[in-house]
Amino acid sequence: MALDADWAERWVRRTADAIADAKGELTELDRQIGDGDHGENMDRGFRAVVARLDDPAAQPGAGDERTVGDVLKLVATTLMSTVGGASGPLYGTAYLRAAKVSGRPQIDPPAVVAVLEAALEGVSSRGKATVGEKTMVDAWQAAVDAAEAAARDGGSEVDVLRVAAEAADKASTATIPMVATKGRASYLGERSAGHEDPGARSTALVLGAALAAALAGPTSADPHGAA
């Protein structure tokens, strides 16, 4: 089962649900080591994305010709326009770079890996962050490493997304003892230790939604996702 634009749309809708459910948790994490707006900002951004997907006049791509990249590009521009904080351009750039490598109706496991690599490259270059600085890059890098290994071993799209989501979740938890050296949390220095990075947590939610969307298949009740 290759992943198509309908999967991408289910992914985005499920991300919006997951972010909405975790809004309070993300904001609480960000209140501890940041400026306390990550949950609100991400929720506002993804609600705006869903609103555009629901708007017949704003549909990405052209009907049956719609590509995975069309959907991801819509996410990119909407997040950049509506989030308002640093996570807007960071996630926006991740989706934008991912869209550039997925301009096809369907993507296979190596292409799924390419999407994740492009997203990682977007976040790290825009944020000028690398692994170990207690940022969302930690979660993205772990996801990419796991996904590359799974694809190399001949795993399916679902296999690739499953290990990516699990790795991101673990990597996010692993940010708890770290001392932040990038982003707003770095202002706290040593005091940033003991708290999970909110951007790493939201990354884990995004990738968990990608897996759930693949597992759900095209028979889910998504208004535009049904075959």
Binding site: R44, T77, M80, S81, T82, V83, G84, G85, A86, G88, P89, L90, G92, T93, L96, R126, G127, G183, R184
Partner: protein, 241 residues
């Protein structure tokens, strides 16, 4: 508006953006300076749409001067405004062709860039001026530490005179901008009390109030005339006496 380079100042705060644009614009009336600030909901934050709209408007006004050396220099205040400008340039190649983001202190960089642009400088020179503003504090400390005017400069000045500040407010923003713009036109290398007189920021940082005696020195082509010109400007009181 005759300058070929415009400035766009992007802040988390609409008030801060507007205020910085007002300040920089006042010191460089020939330069188009626009501020854009605040999030999508109007509170503190950054709005991609507002940044794109402002850049497009500014480029539309500049269109005639958008040729060689023209364009827009952008300054951002903090994290997400800088990131959002970078994202806007990544999204739109046409914007990226004419717009460049300066890594510079927001207020000091805006003032320095505006004054440089006022003299008709090209985009690279305006960008360099903004970037150099990051070093202004160190430059001023170095000038003061060397005991400006007390010790002989390494390169003997070809012209040197002292002048007393006459206007009540001293060498504040507007006079400093007038002097630095004039010095940039003259070609000679001019210092006032040891600081670079073509730098509006360094002149302002002298804190030269009424009654203070300043030493004006110059080297290079037309040094003596340059000293005379600057001394006359200061003696005339900038229209404030």
């Amino acid at each position: 508006m005759t300058a070929r380079v415009a400035l766009v100042l992007v802040s988390h705060s609409a008030d801060l953006a507007r205020g910085a644009a007002e300040l920089a614009g006042q010191m460089a009336p020939d330069v188009l300076v626009r501020g854009v600030g605040g999030g999508p909901d109007g509170g503190l934050g950054t709005s991609l749409d507002a940044i794109q709209k402002t850049l497009e408007e500014v480029l539309a006004v500049l269109s005639d001067a958008g040729a060689a050396g023209g364009g827009v220099v952008v300054l951002g205040d903090l994290g997400s405004s800088v990131l959002t400008v970078e994202a806007a340039l990544e999204l739109d190649d046409a914007l990226a062709e004419h717009v460049v983001l300066a890594r510079a202190p927001f207020v000091e960089g805006a003032v320095a860039a505006a004054v440089t642009a006022h003299g008709g400088a090209d985009r690279d020179a305006v960008l360099a001026s903004a970037t150099a503003s990051a070093g202004m504090f160190a430059a001023i400390e170095a000038a003061q530490a060397s005991g400006a005017g007390e010790t002989a400069p390494a390169e003997a000045a070809e012209g040197s005179r002292t002048v007393t500040v006459r206007n009540p407010l001293g060498l504040h923003a507007r006079p400093a901008a007038l002097v630095s713009r004039k010095v940039a036109e003259l070609g000679a290398s001019v210092t006032i009390d040891g600081v670079d007189a073509s730098s509006v920021l360094q002149l302002m940082a002298l804190g030269a109030t009424q009654g203070r005696e300043l030493r004006v020195e110059a080297t290079g082509d037309g040094a003596a005339e340059a000293v005379t010109t600057v001394v006359e400007m200061i003696e005339a009181g900038f229209g404030e006496v």
